[in-house]
């Protein structure tokens, strides 16, 4: 009891103690290294994807344009502005940031008399903590969304090199949903797609397993989903927010997955019937992606569309240029079947210029579209390139498609570093494998490996398929012996490709000369349009631009009745051709209905 009376007096010992409080906390007490203080944003790293806004459970973040930060492919030009009246400093915005641009400083004091100042745009509103080194950073990995792409099941190199069987197997449902799950639905990809497909929405359809909705979304912007789901150049993936710290979403494979999941009959039902006939007639020259997209759109709007195709089947370059192992013909046939089901009539084996003239089309139809693609290979014009065993890649690819007999050489050289060069090298390698059991294909490209024009995946797969790829080699001559037999290709080392004005002017090192053995040489250095079908009169009348028919932004030529679309005016690319087709169809529809209105 006495102890309980005396014991409390021990508190007096604190009389002699120093205070424990901090004298000047404003200056002496910085936040800890991980402190979640005021935000910082690296404006150059930020891509304005708005994922921070999406995850903010307080609704504290707005995405707004900033002077000096223009929208460009892969960057919306918007930047986050945070309402510090709402922010709870949970840092989910930092954790979810797709580029790691958004961080937090360890600064926690900010005094202001104007409350509106707390609508704060980090990085734009300059603050003394902008360069603070301490503060909350996301854990090394981005934990809140998976960074790695779901691997696409493919045939191994050994399985695929003996045949033309499609090498990419396609995702199954579980794989596709996992891949679709990675998408943050920011929509940055839409602008970079030439056809501006509703990418986040159709990926959402995959996530929800709603494939019919997915098909409807695809057909809103692209009647070539089978084709684009396989061979699209997927510009979208290079604008994907996920690519900054991980793999971009496999948008192309997801598109293919959707179209793979829905039976053909159901697709026909889903896209519905064409509008009532308008009585207008449109002729389209060329049944490639551009021509058929135009045809599809116009037929849906009720116009009568006839397509003239010189070859025996539709698809244009996608059929006659892209090897079967990348795009099986039946997939292409399914896309075309939907288009013809819309009422589009395709006249195969009708070569305009021979079987029917352009003048005739002009007279018989209300509008004509020229979508003839690029079917004529360019030549290097090096000495010996007129030898019969020096061939053009496009011609050979077409022969392979049509099943013409090809004299497969035991060894060959391909000139070119683009996708067409890879296509012909890999196709010929397969034929060599089938016939001789071994592959001897050498591919020489002007560019060095870092600047190859071909898709990196194509290069990787070509190497897997034993194609001998040589970079920085400039073709000098085709070596022919006294008997006129082709021996191979002579190349020099490339020193530079362009001059100071970025003009094509390759410089070589003649000392570094090599002869590549080959009984055949294939030139794959580019294509051009075969415009002979126009006839002299029309060729004369039309306006031209650097060898291509001049068109206005809507694809209309200088002749009021003639439009042109696709590779022949825009250069080779499927999805661009599709986009072009839509543009031209819209333009034609507009003109045709305006004429109607005038009457």
């Amino acid at each position: 009891m006495i102890r309980d009376v005396l014991s409390p007096f021990t508190a007096w010992k604190n009389l002699f103690r120093e205070p424990v409080t901090i004298k000047d906390p404003l200056n002496e007490r910085p936040g800890s290294a991980r402190y979640r203080g005021f935000h910082q944003n690296d404006l150059d790293k930020c891509i304005g994807c708005g994922t921070c806004e999406t995850i903010c459970q307080n609704g504290a973040i707005d995405m707004l344009p900033v002077d000096g930060v223009p929208a460009k492919l892969g960057d919306s030009g918007l930047r986050p502005r945070i309402d510090y009246g709402r922010c709870c400093w949970c840092a989910l915005c930092v954790d979810v940031c797709m580029t790691g641009s958004l961080t937090m400083s360890n600064e926690y004091k900010w005094i202001e008399s104007d409350p509106d100042k707390y609508l704060y745009m980090p990085g734009v509103d300059k603050k003394h903590w902008d360069n603070a080194e301490l503060g909350y950073r996301r854990h090394e990995e981005r934990h809140l969304s998976p960074g790695d792409r779901v691997d696409m099941p493919e045939l191994h190199a050994e399985e695929r090199i003996g045949s033309f069987i499609e090498m990419v197997k396609g995702y199954d449902i579980a794989q596709a949903q996992l891949e679709a799950d990675r998408c943050v639905s920011c929509g940055l990809c839409i602008a970079s797609c030439p056809a501006h497909m509703a990418i986040p929405d159709y990926i959402k359809a995959v996530r929800n397993g709603d494939y019919e909705r997915g098909v409807q979304l695809l057909y809103e912007t692209n009647p070539f989903s089978q084709v684009c789901g396989r061979v699209c150049t997927h510009c979208c993936e290079s604008a994907c927010a996920a690519r900054h710290e991980g793999d971009p979403i496999a948008i192309r494979w997801l598109k293919r997955h959707i179209i793979d999941q829905v039976p053909q009959e159901r697709i026909l039902q889903l896209i519905g019937k064409p509008a009532a006939p308008t009585g207008k007639k449109v002729a389209i020259v060329g049944a490639g992606p551009a021509g058929l997209t135009t045809a599809f759109d116009l037929a849906r709007l009720g116009h009568a569309v006839t397509v003239f195709e010189a070859q025996a089947a539709g698809g244009g370059m996608t059929r006659y240029g892209i090897p079967e192992y990348r795009l099986p013909y039946d997939a292409l046939d399914r896309d075309i079947a939907v288009i013809t089901a819309m009422g589009v009539e395709i006249k195969y084996n009708h070569r305009v210029g021979t079987d029917i003239s352009m003048q005739q089309l002009e007279t018989d139809y209300d509008a004509v579209v020229l979508a003839i693609g690029l079917h004529q290979g360019r030549s290097t014009r090096i000495p010996g390139s007129d030898h019969p065993q020096v061939r053009k890649a496009v011609d050979l690819l077409r022969q392979i498609t049509t099943g013409e007999k090809i004299d497969v050489p035991k060894s060959m050289v391909v000139i070119g570093g683009g996708n067409v060069a890879m296509d012909i090298a890999r196709s010929m390698a397969r034929l060599q494998m089938q016939q001789y059991g071994e592959i001897r294909v050498t591919l020489t490209a002007l560019e060095d490996k870092a600047h190859f024009l071909a898709d990196p995946v194509e290069v990787k797969e070509s190497i897997e398929e034993q194609i001998n790829i040589l970079d920085s080699r400039g073709p000098q001559a085709c070596v022919i012996d006294a008997d006129g037999k082709l021996l191979g290709l002579k190349t020099w080392k490339v020193l530079s490709i362009f001059d100071e004005d970025r003009r094509f002017a390759p410089k070589y090192d003649p000392a570094d000369e090599q002869i590549h053995e080959g009984k055949m040489i294939v030139e794959a250095i580019g294509q051009m349009a075969d415009v002979s079908l126009l006839g002299d009169a029309l060729t004369e009348k039309l306006e031209w631009n650097r060898g291509r028919i001049q068109i206005d932004p809507n694809g209309r030529t200088s002749e009021h009745w003639l439009w042109s679309a696709g590779d022949c005016v825009k250069g080779p690319d499927v999805i661009n051709a599709v986009a072009d087709g839509h543009r031209v169809a819209t333009s034609i529809h507009c003109v045709l209905t305006q004429q109607e209105a005038k009457i």
Binding site: D62, D116, A191
Partner: protein, 180 residues
């Protein structure tokens, strides 16, 4: 297994609905409303489930039902049993258990206020618990929209606006280009 054994024991005395074994020490059992009280008393007095952990409701709006969850704990055996009782949403009423656990009265008062579920006979049921002067539908029901309520009740801070990245890019980069 343990939870299954308990279920089998109980089943001999009471008609029971579905059993969901969530963990080896936690299971949920669906029971009819009329069976609840004797079952609770039995569990409390004979099976050692003497601790009422919580009593709460889940609104299954689309099914027209409220789920009442009575969670009981047996400390000696480290087991938990959740009894699920489904009652119709249009006549939400349930027998009070305040005489089994005095603490239950508070839960029931709250459920009455937040979900509009009646427990006749429970003490001070009519007294306001958390809400004062509330006139709308009971706010924890699914059809009470918190966002709509907040928009009606509070003003947004002026100066807030946002843009959708995809729309903004369309406007800036390709908008009307190419269209006639």
């Amino acid at each position: 297994m343990v939870m299954q054994a308990l279920y089998d024991t109980l089943k001999q005395r009471f008609p029971l609905g579905e059993l969901t074994v969530q963990r080896d020490n936690l299971a949920f059992i669906t029971v009819e409303a009329v069976r609840l009280y004797p079952l609770l008393r039995y569990l409390r007095d004979h099976e050692g489930f003497s601790h009422l952990v919580l009593l709460t409701a889940v609104d299954w709006l689309e099914d027209g039902q409220f789920q009442l969850t009575y969670l009981l704990n047996n400390r000696a055996k480290c087991q938990d049993v959740g009894l699920r009782v489904m009652i119709p949403r249009d006549k939400p009423e349930m027998e009070s258990i305040h005489d089994l656990w005095p603490a239950a009265a508070t839960y029931q008062r709250e459920l009455r206020e937040m979900f509009g579920i009646d427990f006749p006979g429970s003490p001070r049921l009519e007294e306001e618990f958390i809400l004062e002067g509330w006139h709308g539908i009971p706010p924890y029901r699914r059809d009470f929209d918190t966002l709509a309520y907040a928009r009606e009740t509070f003003r947004d801070r002026p100066g807030r606006e946002t843009r959708d990245p995809a729309q903004h890019m369309k406007q800036q980069l390709y908008g009307d280009k190419g269209d006639v």
